[in-house]
């Protein structure tokens, strides 16, 4: 079965500093990968997604992520963090890919980002 690991439960960075959130997946075929952000009391908002092609994908709010097949990773990065980026970040992978079967998202346990001023 597929799985997603986010090894960092909680990260604190200073405003203006760079950010990298780690995500590792376990999946036999080529995965479809997603990063979502969840602010307190809010639903999940899609930041970016990777299906194929260029392994560096750009998302909203200045975020980017790089797919590295050799490392089974899809880490999220941002060059300069803003205080409003404080939230919970979830990495997710689709089971089944483009096989016509269920589009079932499997989520990691999340990384809580705290931004200090």
């Amino acid at each position: 079965a597929q799985s997603v690991t986010q090894p960092d439960i909680h990260i604190t960075v200073s405003e203006g500093a760079s950010l990298e959130l780690r995500c590792n997946y376990s999946y036999g075929a080529t995965p479809y990968l997603f990063w979502y952000v969840q602010s307190p009391g809010q639903g999940l908002q899609l930041l970016l997604k990777y299906f194929s092609g260029d392994t560096l994908v750009q998302g909203i709010k200045g975020f980017e992520a790089e797919f590295k097949r050799s490392q089974s990773s899809f880490n999220l990065r941002k060059p300069s963090v803003h205080w409003s980026d404080a939230a919970e970040y979830f990495c997710a992978v689709v089971e089944g890919g483009n096989t016509g079967t269920a589009s079932k998202l499997t989520f990691g346990t999340g990384t809580r980002l705290q931004v200090t001023l």
């Binding site: 089944g96 096989t99 589009s103 989520f107």
Partner: protein, 116 residues
């Protein structure tokens, strides 16, 4: 364009009471999902609908949970009777449903349930 709408946003009930959550997906989205999110965890799929058909309900505890999407648009998730362990956030999501692999899911704000 309006996003996924859920109500209520918060619900507090006593154990053994019934509770229901409502979801209205984005217009034109054929696929609807209900997720359970426990504190400190990622969401876990409970049930997925393709139009009015429940195509994946393998993770739905059918002894106490039920769901319906009668006209293939909005949906209701019910718990009867609620238990203390049901305290969580219940998220609804929708997607176009045209391409299984690349189908992006859009989430509502969720209903936070507290069972006392």
């Amino acid at each position: 364009e309006a996003g996924v709408v859920q109500s209520p946003r918060y619900k507090i009930i006593e154990k053994k009471q019934p509770v229901a959550f409502w979801c209205n997906p984005i217009s034109g989205h054929n696929t609807l999902y209900w997720y359970l999110q426990n504190l400190g965890q990622g969401p876990e799929l409970l049930i997925r609908y393709e139009n009015e058909e429940a195509v994946d309900d393998s993770q739905l505890p059918k002894d106490r949970f039920s769901a319906e999407r009668l006209k293939g648009v909005d949906s209701t998730l019910k718990i009867q009777p609620a238990e203390l362990g049901d305290s969580a956030v219940y998220l609804c999501a929708s997607s176009l449903g045209r391409d299984r692999g690349t189908d992006t899911q859009y989430f509502g704000p969720g209903t936070r349930l507290t069972v006392l």
